[in-house]
């Protein structure tokens, strides 16, 4: 066995795992605050990637400005979706809200195909191309940068949610909305902010993913793999999604290299099934205890 090669594969797995984790944060934030499983996260990410594409090509804006505008755009997208589609569904059965997000994902795909067409595109290359070596192990420079950026963003989120009162407000809202409301926590604002921050996270990961593998209207499928990581980690646990995201990334990289690419999704979903059988609430999820 070639250990160096194995390490390289694991490192690239960690790279894509960081992207799973970053996107997964969007799922977790939205679920924690509004108890909605947003199946459109992948498509929101796709729309943001196309938005970035439009800004850099059609408008020929510099990359740094396009990144800032895309992240702001992602936040606006999240906020608008929450206010226009999710807030009116408050109190409806969870499955109805879930179906709204499924519909939303189709609408977003259709919109992108109308505006940009169905062909895959490549984003302008702004990531470094000089190979990176950790010890003797080679890491693709794009993957290395993605890992770094995703880690920084995640660290930023964690810091804000530990230090800021908003993090407490989010936890309280997740635990009991009525009690949070009566304790002076502005629950509707928690809803909005969670969706806005989630939208910004999808924008960030959309740009990163698009610049590694190019963009296409079907790139939202990425969201499904992320959803697996989120469920394995526990739907409402930010720590869980970090661990599970990295783990799924490494597992996919190992499987893709040693068994072949066609086994990737298969093994991912087998992982999901096994994890659910052992820990139905996910690795770090809140176990709902019903006292009778």
């Amino acid at each position: 066995m070639d250990w160096l090669f194995l390490i390289e594969v694991v490192l690239s797995g960690l790279g894509s795992g960081a992207l799973f984790a970053l996107t997964g944060i969007a799922f977790v934030l939205i679920y924690k605050a509004t108890k909605v499983i947003n199946l459109a996260v992948g498509e929101m990410l796709m729309l943001c990637a196309y938005f970035f594409f439009g800004l850099t090509t059609a408008l020929a804006l510099p990359v740094w400005l396009a990144i800032i505008l895309t992240v702001i755009g992602g936040g606006i997208l999240g906020g608008v979706v929450e206010r226009a589609l999710i807030r009116p569904m408050l109190g409806e059965s969870p499955i109805s809200v879930f179906m709204v997000t499924v519909g939303l994902s189709s609408v977003l795909i259709g919109f992108v195909e109308l505006v940009w067409g169905g062909d895959p595109r490549t984003l302008p290359n702004f990531l470094p191309t000089k190979p990176v070596f950790i010890g003797d192990a080679y890491v693709s420079p794009k993957i290395a940068v993605c890992f770094l950026v995703a880690s920084l963003l995640i660290a930023g989120f964690l810091l804000v949610f530990r230090k800021w009162r908003g993090g407490v407000a989010l936890r309280a809202t997740a635990a009991d909305q009525g009690a949070a409301f009566s304790c002076g926590i502005n629950v509707p604002a928690v809803f909005s902010i969670s969706w806005i921050v989630a939208g910004m996270a999808t924008a960030g990961s959309g740009i990163l993913i698009g610049s590694i593998g190019g963009i296409s209207p079907s790139m939202g499928v990425f969201g499904l793999t992320v959803l697996v990581a989120v469920i394995v980690g526990g739907l409402d646990s930010i720590a869980g999604v970090l661990v599970a995201g990295l783990a799924i990334g490494v597992i996919e990289a190992l499987v893709g290299t040693y068994l072949g690419g066609e086994f990737k999704l298969f093994v991912t979903f087998v992982t999901l099934i096994i994890a659910m059988m052992i820990r139905p609430y996910g690795l770090f999820g809140t176990i709902e205890i019903e006292r009778l």
Partner: protein, 277 residues
């Protein structure tokens, strides 16, 4: 700790409050006032509209007509966090605690309504002001914990506590909000006698030593008659009687509402109510 009950507090005034869910009139023309520094109890049979009334006062429901005045100020259109800020705290009929958090964390969240810091402050807010605020908070938390005799469970997760203790944590959280009016929705429901007596003692002390005005919904008539200063009786969403506990006990309308007066009497009462509605 009477420092957060202003001496010239005007209490709570509810006037002509009506609330309808579709065709069902949950409340119709409810008018009464909650005297400052006293315990006012709202009683009535199940489905009389007591919890709806509570939800209107705390801002969870928006009444279709009527006015709610808090210390002379119209709060009918305020949302719940704003009401929390001016000093209106409540507990819930089915305990609403932040599961997964400890007793102390739950109580600390009661202070949330009064905290103003934003994200930048939280990251860079050091020094004296911060220390003073921390001292103030820990002082309050300690007094609340001491007062409700729950120092020994402060670091326990709330999910592990007994029903009676969880009710007490809810009361503690409401007190940490430094309320001027404390609303208790069935504070002793489902409690055994000992727990009920403890809770009665706490409620009386909150009124007497902390100077907090109390509005409570309760089914336990023994408790209501023992500790309340004023009783309001609701039936079918209307106030059918109001007065001192002794007067209420002998009021024929109240006796009818609670015990019924034979099938015919009950039926005619219902019909009269539906006609009025």
């Amino acid at each position: 700790m009477s420092d957060f009950a202003k001496p010239d507090f005007a209490g709570l005034n509810i006037s002509h409050l009506s609330l309808a869910f579709g065709g069902l009139k949950a409340l119709s023309d409810v008018t009464f006032s909650v005297a400052p520094g006293a315990i006012t109890a709202v009683i009535g049979p199940n489905g009389a509209g007591k919890t709806s009334l509570f939800n209107c006062i705390s801002g969870f429901y928006r009444p279709s007509t009527g006015k709610i005045e808090f210390d002379g100020e119209d709060i009918t259109r305020l949302h719940p966090p704003a009401r929390a800020k001016i000093g209106l705290a409540r507990t819930f009929q089915n305990i609403a605690l932040f599961r997964g958090m400890t007793v102390l964390d739950n109580i600390k969240l009661g202070r949330h309504a009064h905290m103003q810091t934003n994200v930048l402050d939280a990251l860079w807010y050091f020094g004296r002001a911060r220390r003073e605020e921390l001292e103030l908070r820990s002082e309050l938390e300690r007094r609340v914990l001491d007062f409700l005799e729950m120092e020994h469970i402060r670091d326990h997760p709330v999910a592990s506590l007994s029903y009676g203790l969880r009710k007490r944590v809810e009361l503690a959280r409401a007190l940490a909000m430094q309320p001027r009016v404390l609303m208790l929705d069935e504070p002793v429901a489902g409690m055994n006698r000992e727990e009920t007596e403890d809770m009665a003692r706490f409620i009386l002390e909150v009124k007497e030593e902390w100077g907090v005005t109390i509005l409570m919904v309760e089914h336990d008539m023994g408790l209501v008659m023992d500790i309340s200063d004023h009783v309001v009786v609701l039936n079918f969403g209307q106030v059918i009687a109001a007065g001192k506990p002794a007067e209420i006990q002998n009021n024929p309308d109240v006796i009818t509402a609670y015990l019924g007066s034979g099938d015919v009497g009950e039926l005619s009462r219902r019909i009269a109510c539906e006609k009025a509605a």
